[in-house]
């Protein structure tokens, strides 16, 4: 057993995962070698139509066999039908022992539990939440789940750590030769950012669409160069679950208070000037921060250079009002965003690789000034946990947390100090997702807590009258005082989750919970 750079104990070898590389620091590991790739294809003029009759025919044509790795994107969110359709079909065809490699899973995918229990899926690499997360935490899978960030996933594929045998890409629009796009069709989802890696690197790519257009479809996100098989189905998803209604800024007073403190911090920082860029959040607090930032930007007469990440109608408004010059969209959350990306050339679709991969010639997160994030816990060293809950259950994916924190010049974690009785600030997080070296400040309803390593930020904040600064020690002590002492989480020795840092090293592991 060895300790990584954060003092977490990591075994040299984990059953079901392999040899571990220890986390050495956010920017420590440098890549070597060349990019991996998928099989070289050859398609002649004899084939002008890549369509097959149904999902099962597609699976058969793809060469998918038991033991292989299949991948999916999550742009259809909780309205997705595709993952369940494909895995159901695999089960019926007797295919088993699959490694599931989605970019994320949602509540609608809890149907997969029966396939996990029956052995159709024996390994998952990607986020696990809700009932699947609970199942995994209690030891329901033989092999540990591997959690990677949005940037770590394309890195893992490009460097050959993960090989995708068959990628199934839900395509709101497609033509018979495999050109696909996300902005048109009854199941439109906007950006298809998370699917690009799969299209580029899988041995076989299957496009599943409910909106076939004459060849060549336009506009095109991923092209015929990467798509091997096309399947038409009646519906790839439920629009009500794919896109939400207009995103409104929260009126919850606690969240508004925290958002106000966060925006005061941003305004005090050296980054609040013409050309500022920020990560676009959809959650309560990040969106409220943007609303306050908007007021402040108008007052100061400055514009933002770009908004990055998951795009909502609120940001589309900012773009239209000229308060931000560009939107770089890796995921479109609502109808306005879907419409905008399809119509406005200043609203750009970007891939997960482009967004967040640490091992390319420069991801978008590197150009980011400010990001507002959440966390279930943060510790005295500013390490953040987004994967496990206070009870030790593995319930959330990493998302873009590690990537934006590592890239942004000002990383703020904004969170109520207490969720019920559970404090978000502790002496030691239960598991680490993002290391303190890239977390600059915690903002709670009690004020602004700046990482002491950021002397420049502390100086900038002290120069502003009335900023409610709170030392980390005081925050922890207050959390202790209010919540009281905690009982330790009881676990078995078995590791059920491996949390990778963006560079593929192991930043932490999660153990199985003791049965109640």
């Amino acid at each position: 057993m060895a300790k990584n750079a954060l003092g977490r104990e990591i075994p040299e070898f984990i059953e079901g995962y392999g040899k571990t590389k220890l986390f050495q620091g956010a920017f420590a590991l440098k890549p070597e070698g060349y990019r991996a790739g998928g099989k070289i294809r050859c398609v002649n003029s004899t084939c002008t139509d890549k369509r097959v009759s149904d999902i099962k025919a597609a699976i058969a044509a793809s060469g998918l066999k038991s033991g292989m790795t299949v991948s999916f994107h999550h742009h259809l969110r909780n309205g997705d039908f595709v993952v369940n359709m494909v895995i159901d079909a695999c089960a019926e065809m007797g295919i088993k022992d699959l490694t599931l490699f989605p970019t994320a899973l949602f509540g609608v995918h809890k149907k997969l539990i029966e396939h996990i229990k029956s052995g159709v899926i024996t390994r998952i690499m990607g986020s696990v939440n809700g009932p699947i997360g609970q199942l995994v935490s209690e030891g329901g899978m033989d092999v540990p789940v591997v959690l990677r960030s949005h940037g770590g996933r394309p890195r893992a594929v490009a460097s050959g750590d993960v090989h995708i045998d068959v990628a199934f890409i839900a395509a709101p629009t497609a033509d018979q030769y495999g050109n696909i796009c996300g902005t048109q069709g009854k199941s439109a989802c906007g950006s298809l950012g998370y699917a690009f890696t799969d299209a580029q690197f899988a041995d076989c790519v299957v496009a599943i669409t409910d909106n076939l257009q004459p060849y060549p479809a336009a506009p095109i996100s991923m092209s015929q160069l990467s798509v091997d098989i096309v399947v038409e189905v009646p519906s790839i998803g439920d629009p009500a679950g794919i896109v939400s209604g207009t995103t409104k800024v929260t009126r919850d007073p606690l969240r508004l208070l925290i958002a106000r403190y966060a925006s005061e911090l941003i305004e005090a920082s050296p980054y609040f000037k013409e050309g500022i860029s920020f990560q676009t959040g959809a959650g309560g607090i990040p969106l409220a921060v943007t609303a306050f930032m908007k007021e402040a930007m108008i007052k100061k007469g400055i514009k933002a250079s770009f908004g990055l990440g998951g795009i909502t109608g609120y940001f589309v408004e900012l773009l239209k009002e000229g308060l931000v010059e560009r939107l770089m969209d890796v995921q479109s959350f609502d109808l306005e965003a879907v419409r905008s990306i399809g119509e406005n050339p200043k609203h750009i679709e970007i891939s997960a690789d482009w967004y967040a991969n640490p091992w390319n010639s420069g991801a978008a997160v590197n150009m980011l000034d400010v990001v507002i994030l959440g966390a279930t816990e943060v510790d005295v060293n500013f390490n953040a946990n987004v994967n496990t809950e206070a009870d030790g259950a593995l319930l959330h994916g990493t998302g873009g947390h590690q990537d934006t924190a590592a890239g942004a010049k000002l990383t703020i974690i904004a969170q109520p100090l207490l969720r019920g009785r559970i404090p978000c600030v502790t002496d030691n997080v239960y598991s680490v997702t993002t290391p303190g070296e890239v977390v600059d400040a915690i903002v709670t309803e009690y004020g602004i807590t700046v990482n002491p390593k950021r002397k420049d930020l502390l100086d900038a904040c002290s120069a502003v009258k009335g900023l409610p600064l709170v030392a980390m020690e005081e925050l922890v002590s207050r959390a202790h005082k209010m919540s009281g002492p905690t009982d330790p989480v009881e676990t078995e020795d078995r590791i059920i989750g491996v949390v990778e840092w963006r560079d593929g090293t192991v930043i932490d592991v999660v153990k199985q919970l003791k049965a109640k």
Binding site: L418, R421, I422, S483, G484, P485, D487
Partner: protein, 89 residues
Amino acid sequence: MNTAQAGTLESMDCLVTVSEAPQGTGVKIQIAGSSAARFKSAMEKKTAEVIASMDVKDIEISIQDNGALDIVLGARVEAAVKRLMGGER
């Protein structure tokens, strides 16, 4: 058997149900809900403290929690016991 309740299931509150218990039962405490996983010991301690301060030796207490801090838990236990002693309102 006489029982009484106090509190709610709203955020940061808890619902405390107390029942009379035969002499010699002692103080029996059951805790369920969002804080139970990490704060059971602290909550049992606080509950026992409040019961002791009210000079009650035999009682059954069941707590359904939604994130109550000690200050709230104490108040709800006290209120439930007072209701039990003073007759149902």
